[in-house]
Symmetry: none
Subunit: 321 residues, 2 copies
């Protein structure tokens, strides 16, 4: 099945090799010898994939029971969102740095390939690059380390005239579609608090906000996403109507909009002092003073946003309307 390859990020070759060499999974066969994978087969492959990425050799773990694998995952990788590396596994500490270097190199390669695809307006190619990258970087990695930097770069190239508007648009919609497709796998968290995400009036690039929605969903928030360029009154209206307890704004271009500070002040006045408001993005720092005056927290990057949302959710488990 091709789905298996897509859902595990492993090439069909590898999946078959693992089966043949280590009996990692033994799917049923159809009458004509096709492999038929069950959900649990796929889950097991994902486990194995995660563990091999964490440094375990497939030969060692391929024959373990699924329960043992889960045990091992908990011990080695920990609980998923924690960033802290715990290098007390036997084999990990050695080349932590080297591994990191390699990872950064890989990201650079992916970035270059993606940029090239954008320049040639080859949307299929760009999607292929992203797909290949998600295998290596994982879900959060692709958002925070590939897609994020990519749109920043594209924005700059566009701003400096090295990229046409059409190229920028083509890239935007493709990245958006890709994230859309993969974000979807995370269910809506019904109990979680709600956050409104958008960009203020005049801010025309929506991708930053879009990536933020992915991060927020992953962090267990209920997201109302409104796209780009909304006036303050509209934003506050949406916050009130949805009963959101937080608001995130993306600010990328332009970086020198004289109207934006006033817009932010208006926003704060209309919303009252209780609403948590964040702002991030390529040019957010350019409005640092305005943000401070409006009591809006400046978020450095998507990783920080995730941290912030996680801790906020911890302290404030139920949304207050």
């Amino acid at each position: 099945m091709k789905i298996v390859s897509q859902r595990t990020g492993l090439s069909p070759h590898v999946v078959r090799a693992w089966e043949k060499r280590y009996g990692a999974v033994e799917p049923n066969r159809s009458g004509t010898n096709r492999r038929l994978y069950s959900e649990s087969d796929i889950a097991r492959l994902n486990l194995l994939h995660a563990l091999t990425r964490a440094g375990h050799s497939i030969g060692q773990i391929g024959t373990l029971s699924t329960a043992q694998l889960q045990e091992l995952t908990k011990k080695t990788i920990g609980n998923e969102n924690g960033l802290g590396h715990f290098p007390d596994g036997d084999q990990l500490e050695r080349d932590e740095a080297a591994w990191d270097d390699e990872m950064n190199g890989a990201i650079d390669q992916h970035l270059a390939a993606a940029l090239d695809a954008c320049r040639r307006m080859d949307q299929a190619k760009l999607e292929a690059v992203l797909s290949r990258a998600i295998v290596r970087l994982g879900y959060s990695g692709i958002i925070e380390r590939l897609a994020g930097p990519l749109i920043t770069t594209i924005g700059e190239e566009w701003h400096e005239g090295n990229m046409t508007v059409a190229q920028e648009h083509a890239a935007t919609v493709t990245i958006r579609a890709f994230i859309e497709k993969h974000v979807r796998q995370y269910p809506i968290s019904h109990g979680g608090p709600t956050i409104v995400i958008t960009t203020p009036a005049g801010q025309i690039h929506e991708l930053g906000a879009f990536l933020a929605t992915a991060v927020a969903k992953k962090a267990g928030w209920n997201v109302v996403y409104l796209g780009a360029s909304l006036p303050a009154a509209e934003i506050v209206g949406a916050v009130v109507q949805s009963g959101a307890s937080a608001l995130a704004l993306s600010i990328s271009y332009p970086a020198d909009d004289p109207d934006l500070p006033m817009e932010l002040l208006t926003l704060r006045q209309l919303a009252g002092d209780d609403l948590n408001v964040f702002a991030g993005g390529r040019s957010a720092h350019a409005y640092a003073r305005a943000l401070q005056e409006s009591n809006i927290a400046l978020i450095a990057d998507l990783g920080s946003l995730r941290q912030k949302l996680l801790s906020l959710r911890g302290h404030q488990p139920t949304p207050s309307a």
Copy 2:
């Protein structure tokens, strides 16, 4: 049979092949051996179609019971909300007119529910409504009979001030995400001709163009989708760079942009006379004269677009750069 084809998005050939090879549906026959499909047959075909687009092979799922299919759909595509009712009263083709009325009634209901969700900015609800509709209306139906009218209505409500910008935005991104997820996932057709789809400068609503990409992909075209609001020079640049042999423009709001006619003329001048250019959308007819002067074909609706693209591809199998 033709109706079935339209409502499922499957070609008559495929429907017969599925019946013959896998017994996917076994419609009753008229006295003269014509196939008579029931409502539930069509719903079942829609289910199968959705699942094959999601990657399941028809050979594996074609013989499953309808209940199993629904189960599978829930698991793979993930609709937390029940999938459309199957009309189990076995009313085969009893009365064309009555049936049509009922269908229109169903669509109206869906439309009303969707609009309500948009008003309350309940994105989850809106998605639920769309999900429920897709089995009944099918691939083409959801685009041409639900999503299309829905965005038109939203546009009008917004234009008349009955809907806020935030509501309009929220609806737009949700519909866009839904189409992306359920409908647009078609394999890239290598070898097919290429079409560029976008909206001209000043046209801020992208959804019409977005739906058009779904139609074009289904019709076997290679699509370069550029989102909203591009100047003529950029559009032509994209056409040249991608080697496209056609261009489709969506025109919805505003309906009285004094600059648009000039923009269209410029477009035609830059592109030369050989490029096939279409325009459609809520307000396209308002620019009928400008379109004619620029030699741009006016497309009435998405169904016409599909027809047009199919015939064009037939006569012009290889794209000329």
